[in-house]
Symmetry: C2
Subunit: 335 residues, 2 copies
């Protein structure tokens, strides 16, 4: 086993899983943002022709998977496992998409960190010799998340500046033991970290300690520093959490420099409507599977460390006075 571990908590894949294809589908607001041209499908309307936003979210996920299969010239039968999750109660978007795809299915819940959770597990399934190909996919949707976690959008509640805006979208990646594409070479699975933040309108601050903890572990396990990577990308800390993770790591002697950014910050640019920035399972997935992998193919980045973050709360845990625990999983993607 030792050969597959680096330091205390990091995995080094012996036969690194290759990201042979991805699919990204986003809503109109994400399509109008600075990363618009990087997405495979941009919807005209968040409802996607469906009767409810929940049904639209399922369709987003199915479509993202379909695009990935098309790009890889594969069909769902060519994939041994599907690892998927979303933010909805009982991850119905993922389970209903899995019903359509008919792939043996592992349902995951890691809140907004789920894309990285799936890449960690999917990578282990491939490197462990249990699958030649796995599909990792996640979704989120502004309307479904707002009405489940906060208020129905019809109430038009004023957003706080620290609040984040749930990305409407879905991202899918096919990981394979053979083929061409960037490889997932290292993974650090996160622990649950809770510093007692209780404000559900400030998820960035709730998740930042977990991101810092996982990054600290990754750098110390691999004996590397932030400047050893071309890009370090947190999932959805957005503007508030991005500053906080930099401060926490600085106290531990790690300086995140200009090569550090956050998917929640970059997906909407300076759109004033989004508060502190984007969030949701789709946030890190569509940014990474869209923009970042394209730039890796174009030779702009060779080594990208993705640290996807999740807030592991529910409206009920909040009502019962619980604070908001966070988690972050890191995967190193190399061209």
């Amino acid at each position: 086993m030792a050969a597959k571990r680096v330091g205390k908590r990091t995995i080094r894949f012996q036969n690194p899983p290759i990201i042979i294809a991805t699919g990204t589908v986003v809503g109109p607001m994400e399509g109008n943002g600075p990363l618009g041209p990087d997405f495979d499908v941009v919807l005209q309307d968040n409802m996607y022709g469906q009767a409810t936003p929940e049904k639209a979210e399922t369709k987003l996920l199915e479509e993202a998977a379909k695009v990935a299969f098309q790009k890889a010239s594969l069909s769902p039968q060519d994939v041994e496992y599907m690892l998927a999750g979303d933010l909805l109660n009982q991850i119905i978007s993922s389970s209903f998409a899995a019903r359509q795809l008919e792939i043996p299915y592992f349902g995951l819940y890691g809140a907004c960190s789920t894309a990285a959770e799936g890449m960690c597990l999917g990578g282990m399934l491939i490197d462990g010799g249990f699958a030649d190909r796995v599909l990792v996919c996640v979704s989120s949707h502004y309307q479904t998340a707002e009405r489940q976690y906060r208020y129905p959008i019809e109430l038009n509640i004023k957003r706080k500046l620290t609040a984040q805006y749930t990305v409407t979208g879905a991202g899918a990646a096919i990981l394979a033991s053979q083929g061409s594409g960037p490889r997932v070479t290292l993974a650090t699975v996160g622990t649950v970290v809770d510093l007692g933040i209780k404000d559900p309108n400030d998820m960035g601050s709730a998740m930042a300690p977990a991101a810092a903890e996982t990054m600290f572990q990754f750098f110390s396990d691999t004996n590397t520093r932030p400047e050893d990577y071309d890009l370090i990308l947190t999932g959805d800390l957005a503007r508030v959490g991005k500053v906080m993770v930099q401060e926490v790591l600085k106290e531990k002697g790690i300086a995140l420099g200009d090569n550090y950014d956050d998917c929640g910050v970059i997906i909407y640019g300076n759109n004033p409507k989004v508060g502190a920035g984007g969030s949701g399972c789709a946030c890190s997935a569509v940014v990474t599977f869209g923009r970042i992998l394209r730039e890796m193919k174009n030779g702009i980045y060779a080594k990208v460390l993705l640290v996807a973050t999740g807030a592991l709360m529910s409206p009920l845990s909040y009502q019962q006075g619980e604070s908001i625990p966070g988690i972050a999983h890191a995967v190193l993607i190399e061209a």
Copy 2:
């Protein structure tokens, strides 16, 4: 990879994960049932000294893990990963337990099939060389499930005969690459199966087709028959689903005989209060980790096929007219 696969969809572990210790904690009603003496801890009161049933459920999960660690003379630091899930929105019981245990954490959602989902994935992590030990644990709680999925118990709504009773309990198992105990030798991961059942008071019928599909796949992949096993145990089909799975498999030429039973049927015996029988993530977990593994140790069974079942719906998907998809994961446990 071929060496680790049998037939189309079944995994054969090369270094089968060993179940070195388990912990089971249940509520008073489960403790008063026929399996009472098999559980490690039986609560006097479902609330477990907590202010809310949700907090009680988290404590159940922590306690089950604690018992398993004690039996194995290990502490949480000795385990590389925790794989856990429950029925609550955003699996808060698992995430809050993971906050206490501080083990790198993969959140899972497979409804009542989660124990087997965790054993499949945990087994792959061990056999793949990524961990020496993993903790797999799940929980469910009558009060938390009733008020989330159906009605607050205070309303005292009359239960339908086909309805099932959520097991209050938690089960934990430590899987390891070395040590003594029964081994998980084969695993078949389920696909999502939906025959259009829409009655949330008849989950057994909704899940039975998935159980039949996974069992059919397992028997055909391994070229075996039901009589080749000492015990075949579905998760929580209860009395209605148990008959249905037998009928569906009979049509496919597979006769489930006297060596077939269902955890949801046996956990409460003939208690008239429970409708068709037990359900919940804890149902298959506490029956298997309590009674069944003890009987394997006592030489009563050598080969037990556990087929844990889950209904992948949410109250919202039901309200939106969706039918109830099911899933079932099979693991073969050998003494």
